[in-house]
Amino acid sequence: MTEHVEIKLHNKLSELASANQTVTEFGRQHGLPDSILHDFNLALGEILTNIISYGYTDSGEHEITVRLSIEPGEMRVDVEDDGKPFNPLEAPEVDTTNPLEERAVGGLGVHLVRKLTDGLEYRRHEGKNLLVMKKHLR
C-alpha cells in the first residue's frame, strides 16, 4: 500500500478534476472516510485555484507539485509552486455574518481552507511557495 503519492499538475483549472481523483483514490486505498476526503479535496482545490488563477504574472506553463501522505493519525498534503509569494495564513478573515446585501464575493476559498483543515504551515523557499495542510484522522 502506498504511503505517499506525488503528482505534477500544470497551471490550468482543468487539472483540478485529476487532483480530486488522485486524492480520492489515495484516500480510499487507505480506508479514509468520504467526509475527510471531501474536506481535503475542497481545501486542496481552493489552494490550487488560487495558485492557478492569481499566482503567475506570465501566461506560460508552470508545474505545481502535490504530495499526499499518511502519517500516524493524520493525512497531509504538501503543495509546491513557483508562483509569486502568497501566504494563505496571512490572508484577511472574511466576515461570514454580514447580511446578503453586504456579502462580498471574494475570500471564501481561504476561509474554507482554514475551517476544513486542522493544520496549515507556509514557507517561501528558493523562489517557491510551500504549503502544508494537515487533517486529523478521527
Binding site: S14, T96, R103, V105, L116
Partner: protein
C-alpha cells in the same frame, strides 16, 4: 474536461435546476450562468437540486451568492434541495444558510 450536467424544470412559478457533477472553479461558470439566467424570470423562485453534486467549492458558492442577490431584488430567496451533508456543512461554515433556504 469534466463538465456539469444541468437540467432545468419549470414547476408552476418555480424554476428548478438539477445539477450533476463536481462544482469546482473550472465548472462553476456553467452553474453561475444557468442560475443567473433562471433569476432573470420576472417572478417566481429558483430551486437548485444538489442531490447529485459531490462537491461545491468557493467558486460555486460565489454563483449561489450572486443568484441570491439577484433574487433578493425581487423579494425572492434561493432554495437548495437535497443538499448532501458535506455541502450543508460548507454552507454553514460560510454563513450562507442565513440568506439561502436549505431543504435536506
Amino acid at each position: 474536461m469534466k463538465e456539469l450536467e444541468i437540467t432545468q424544470q419549470q414547476l408552476q412559478s418555480t424554476i428548478v435546476l438539477h445539477v450533476v457533477g463536481a462544482v469546482d472553479s473550472n465548472t462553476a461558470p456553467e452553474l453561475q450562468e444557468a442560475l443567473l439566467r433562471a433569476t432573470e424570470a420576472p417572478t417566481g423562485g429558483v430551486e437548485l437540486d444538489l442531490a447529485k453534486v459531490s462537491y461545491m467549492s468557493s467558486a460555486g458558492l460565489r454563483a449561489l451568492l450572486l443568484a441570491a442577490k439577484a433574487l433578493q431584488k425581487r423579494g425572492e430567496r434561493l432554495t437548495l434541495v437535497n443538499v448532501p451533508p458535506q455541502i450543508h456543512n460548507v454552507l454553514n461554515l460560510t454563513g450562507f444558510t442565513t440568506f439561502i433556504d436549505v431543504k435536506a
